[in-house]
């Protein structure tokens, strides 16, 4: 059974169909890429999955349970966490407090064997955030803030993680390190849905890729198939996509 399943979801903004019959699935231990040009509807897919956007039709299932009518917090409590393309940190709290809040919220439901502080410390270690962890979140650089958002999502111990352009604002070595972390999380059993414009990164770490254009899935497959797909090359990758082997 898929950890996360999106079935034929459509969203309309006024006269504009932002999504049309989009379906996708995320399995445990898999990193799934969702790519496409700007305005293709990637963030809207995330908003539908997390409950911030009501779909016109279609369903969202977490662990086989239909959560389409659930409030955002109910969905999160079923083991889902996300980051935001335009960062949504708690600006008046420090980076550490951002993580603490998330860990404490996590402890209000489900079983909790490890104390919140410990969980927060291990996230700080994992993502190497010691340098700026006690700064207020609204003065962090974009790259730092993205790490804090990821850390905040991780301390809720999600089964499925939705990342909205997590590598933008990271330099080459940070991206390399970041890719390693995501692969490690997947090996530990987490399902990851990744929206990202860094095509080499996506091609390198994703097991499965969906390509979205004008609100429709125009291609789906393993990275090798996607790179060869003429529609994807036309709509997004371009002929000189420079994708590494």
């Amino acid at each position: 059974m898929s950890l996360l399943e999106v079935r034929e979801v459509s969203v309309r903004f006024g006269g504009h169909m932002a999504l049309q019959d989009v379906s996708l699935g995320v399995e445990p231990s898999k990193i799934v890429g969702l790519i496409g040009p700007n305005g293709a509807g990637k963030t809207t897919v995330f908003n539908v999955i997390t409950g911030l956007q009501e779909p016109l039709r279609g369903r969202v299932l977490i662990n086989g349970i239909d959560v389409t009518s659930f409030a955002p917090h109910d969905r999160a409590q079923r083991g889902m966490a996300r980051t935001f393309q335009r960062l949504e940190l708690f600006g008046s709290l420090t980076a550490r407090e951002n993580l603490m809040v998330a860990a404490e919220i996590r402890r209000t439901w489900g079983q909790h064997t490890i104390p919140a502080e410990e969980r927060v410390e291990s996230a700080i270690d994992l993502l190497g955030m010691h340098e700026f962890i006690d700064k207020r979140a609204d003065v962090l650089t974009t790259g730092q803030a993205r790490l804090v958002e990821l850390g905040r999502a991780l301390v809720t111990r999600p089964k499925v993680l939705l990342l909205d352009e997590p590598a933008s604002g990271l330099d080459a070595s940070e991206t390399e390190y970041f890719a390693g972390i995501l692969q490690g999380l997947a090996r530990a059993g987490m399902g990851i849905l990744l929206v990202e414009h860094d095509v080499p990164l996506v091609m390198k770490i994703c097991h499965d890729i969906y390509v979205l254009d004008f609100g429709k899935v125009i291609a789906h497959g393993i990275p090798e198939q996607i790179q060869q797909d003429q529609r994807v090359i036309d709509a997004y990758l371009g002929s000189g996509s420079g994708v590494p082997a």
Binding site: L52, F84, M100, V101, A153
Partner: protein, 690 residues
């Protein structure tokens, strides 16, 4: 049948006036993003100005109306926009709301200064009692004119907002101010125009309804509650639905007045009067609509860089502070007269009531305009069950207020903050008009109260209040440092992120609202104890305004801010009392100063946009800066003044600088860019909207 037609016409006329008032509210809200609580007060001023020109000075009707709508109302609008609203960039929704409430309070206080409450004011309907016959019922020309005006306003607004460049520009400015500006719109001009239009519509509604409800400051001002109810049907944005809401409301009120039976004997025997419920119809409608509105859609909005700070006090310094408070009160109270002691006691009680706003508004970003009404319930509880100083009275005061809090908050908390502010204001209005004036609850307007544990000495009671303030204050410091405090702050910063992390926002808001109402109930019980009476006029709807204003002025996110706010309120009433009778340059200076002190909470509130962190933060910031300057370079002059704390937070993030441009363009560079873009100077100057 005749009767039915009469009531229907009456309902439609009421609806027309509500619709005009509500559409003014909607116009300002959709075009400036600020919900103007002072809208009704502007209508009230318009009605009084009309009386001045038409009745007092005998100007012709049309000329008087024209001067009010084309000169007075626009002047108020421009003043509000220029002086008050323009400083509100980068402040939270709380501060925006509070500033309009300060304006509301100021206008309510200004009107009686110009038009003495002792005078009698009334205006006649247009064309007197002349009427035409409609299905057997008489319809006056005034009524026909009102309905006609509402139709013209609806058509005009629609044409303006959707069919003209100005209107489209106004909407663009709300959607994205910076983008609109980059495209040549002039946000300041658009914003000023929308305030002018809003003020004129408010004044128009005020003039049209004045012949019916009379020229009474508070009644006219609170008429706006009815307009809110209509505007909420249109979710504060849709003009069509706002008109539908107004129609439902007007007809509902007319039929209720016409067909509701006299007070049934069963109620009369129990000293209850259900006829006053007809006053509550707009509020009931507001609550029903709030229940029907679907959950607010949570939006991600990026990191909010606010100028507002939420200090994190240490336990040690808090204990020192509370110790100093109790010590100072113990010492000074010995030197105070009995009456002064009483006023400072009231100040500490206000401080406790203001403490209730610290977690709710300061940490959680939710606004309540009903804290004094919860306090009133607390006062009722102690008067009823606290006989002989029984502590049960205080316990029940807290519980009763908290229970009422649940009732008010439940429908509104699912929605955005502004709806909670509206719902609480409506609740305060119902408490005053329908609940507190039931003879079964308050046989007269005041009910005797025994002080807790028989603390008869005013001095002992004052010290006791300082201890209670310290205990509650310490609890709030603890809360601020606790998980719950962090969660509240997170909720204020980003509701969307909280929800996607699994936090149930409604439950969290409800928890803090119950806590807050309970503290207000406690404050009310102690306040009644200080006065030895629970007097209903202390807990009227208007009384909520100075409490919120002074809490914000002191510092809404600080325990010390609540104390400062409470003591300031007390000092205003002390100062008002102690002004000697004197005349300066032939003017009665006593009443001038009295009015000034009465206005003070409003005037202080209006300036909040300049420093939303309140007095305590402002003073401590200034002291710190001076100190740092001295330490850094003793004896060196002309040092740059260190940035204030919020400047340090905000300044590095100006959009242009974050794009890598850190020095302004010089004219040559601008010319070069224009050349590259093939723009000629004329085109640039003309812009898109000019």
């Amino acid at each position: 049948m005749d009767q039915f037609v009469t009531y229907t016409v009456f309902g439609v006329v009421l609806a027309a006036i509500y619709a005009i008032a509500a559409s003014g509210l909607v116009v300002t809200y959709t075009t400036s993003g600020i919900f103007n609580f002072a809208h009704g007060a502007v209508g009230m001023l318009g009605a009084f100005a009309y009386w001045q020109f038409h009745v007092k000075w005998g100007w012709p009707t049309l000329l008087s109306i024209a001067v009010v709508l084309l000169v007075i109302a626009p002047l108020i609008g421009v003043f509000v926009e220029r002086v008050v609203m323009r400083g509100l960039q980068g402040v939270s929704e709380v501060t925006k709301v509070v500033v309009t409430i300060a304006l509301l309070f100021t206008l309510i206080q200004v009107a009686p200064v110009i038009w003495s409450p002792k005078g009698s004011y009334s205006v006649q309907p247009f064309f007197g009692a002349a009427k035409i016959d409609l299905a057997g019922a008489g319809v006056t020309y005034h009524q026909l004119i009102v309905i006609g005006v509402a139709i013209v306003v609806a058509a005009g607004l629609r044409a303006l907002l959707y069919g003209t460049r100005l209107g489209i520009g106004m909407r663009a400015v709300v959607d994205n101010r910076m983008l609109a500006e980059l495209n040549g719109a002039r946000p300041d001009r658009m914003s000023a125009f929308s305030w002018i239009l809003g003020s004129a519509l408010a004044a128009l509604a005020g003039i049209l309804i004045a012949e019916r409800i009379g020229l009474e400051t508070v009644a006219l001002t609170f008429l706006v509650v009815n307009a809110y109810a209509a505007a909420v049907v249109g979710r504060l944005t849709s003009l069509t639905r706002t008109y539908v809401g107004a129609l439902l409301l007007g007809l509902g009120q007319a039929y209720a007045q016409g067909y509701l039976p006299d007070n049934p004997t069963w109620f009369a025997e129990r000293n209850l009067d259900i006829r006053s419920l007809s006053l509550a119809i707009p509020v009931i409608m507001l609550f029903v609509v709030l229940l029907l509105i679907p959950h607010a859609r949570l939006r991600a909005h990026g990191i909010v860089r606010s100028r507002e700070l939420i200090p994190r006090p240490t336990y040690r310094w808090s204990l020192v502070g509370f110790g100093v408070l109790i010590g100072v009160v113990s010492l000074l109270s010995g030197a105070l007269s009995g009456e002064d002691t009483l006023i400072w006691s009231q100040g500490l009680c206000f401080g406790i009531i203001m403490l209730s706003l610290v977690p709710l508004t300061g940490y959680g970003g939710q606004i309540s305009l009903a804290q004094m009404s919860f306090a009133g319930l607390g006062a009722y509880a102690i008067a009823t069950w606290g006989g002989g100083g029984n502590p049960l009275g205080v316990v029940l005061a807290v519980l009763l207020a908290a229970a009422a809090g649940i009732l008010v908050a439940l429908p509104a908390l699912r929605l955005r903050g502004i709806y909670l502010a509206l719902a609480t204001l409506a609740f305060a209005y119902v408490m005053e008009k329908v609940v507190f004036n039931q003879r079964a609850l308050f046989p007269t307007t005041s009910k005797p109260v025994d002080r807790l544990w028989g603390l008869e000495s005013n001095r002992a009671y004052l010290i006791f209040l300082a201890v209670v303030f310290s205990l509650v204050g310490f609890g709030i410091v603890w809360l601020r440092r606790s998980k719950f405090g962090r969660r509240l702050q997170a909720m204020k910063d980003s509701p969307a992120a909280c929800a996607t992390l699994g936090l149930n926002l409604t439950v969290t808001k409800l928890q803090v609202f119950i806590l807050s109402a309970g503290i207000a109930g406690l404050g009310g019980a102690l306040f009644a104890g200080a006065n030895r009476a629970a007097a209903t006029d202390s807990f009227s709807a208007v009384q909520n305004l100075p409490v919120l204003l002074m809490a914000v002025a002191g510092g809404i996110a600080m325990v010390s801010g609540a104390l400062t706010g409470g003591l300031l309120l007390a000092s205003f009433s002390l100062a008002t009392r102690s002004i000697p009778t004197l005349e300066l340059f032939g003017v009665d200076a006593k009443s001038f100063f009295e009015n000034l002190f009465r206005l003070a909470p409003g005037l202080i509130g209006i300036t909040l946009g300049r420093d939303p962190n309140g007095l305590v933060a402002m003073v401590s910031d200034k002291v710190k800066r001076l100190w740092e300057r001295r330490l850094q370079h003793r004896g060196t002059r002309d040092l740059p003044v260190p940035a204030t704390r919020w400047q340090q937070l905000v300044e590095p993030v100006w959009a242009v600088e974050s794009m890598g441009v850190d020095t302004p363009f010089v004219p040559e560079e601008i010319a070069r860019i224009d050349e590259r873009l093939a723009l000629d100077e004329e085109e640039v100057r003309a812009g898109v909207f000019a």
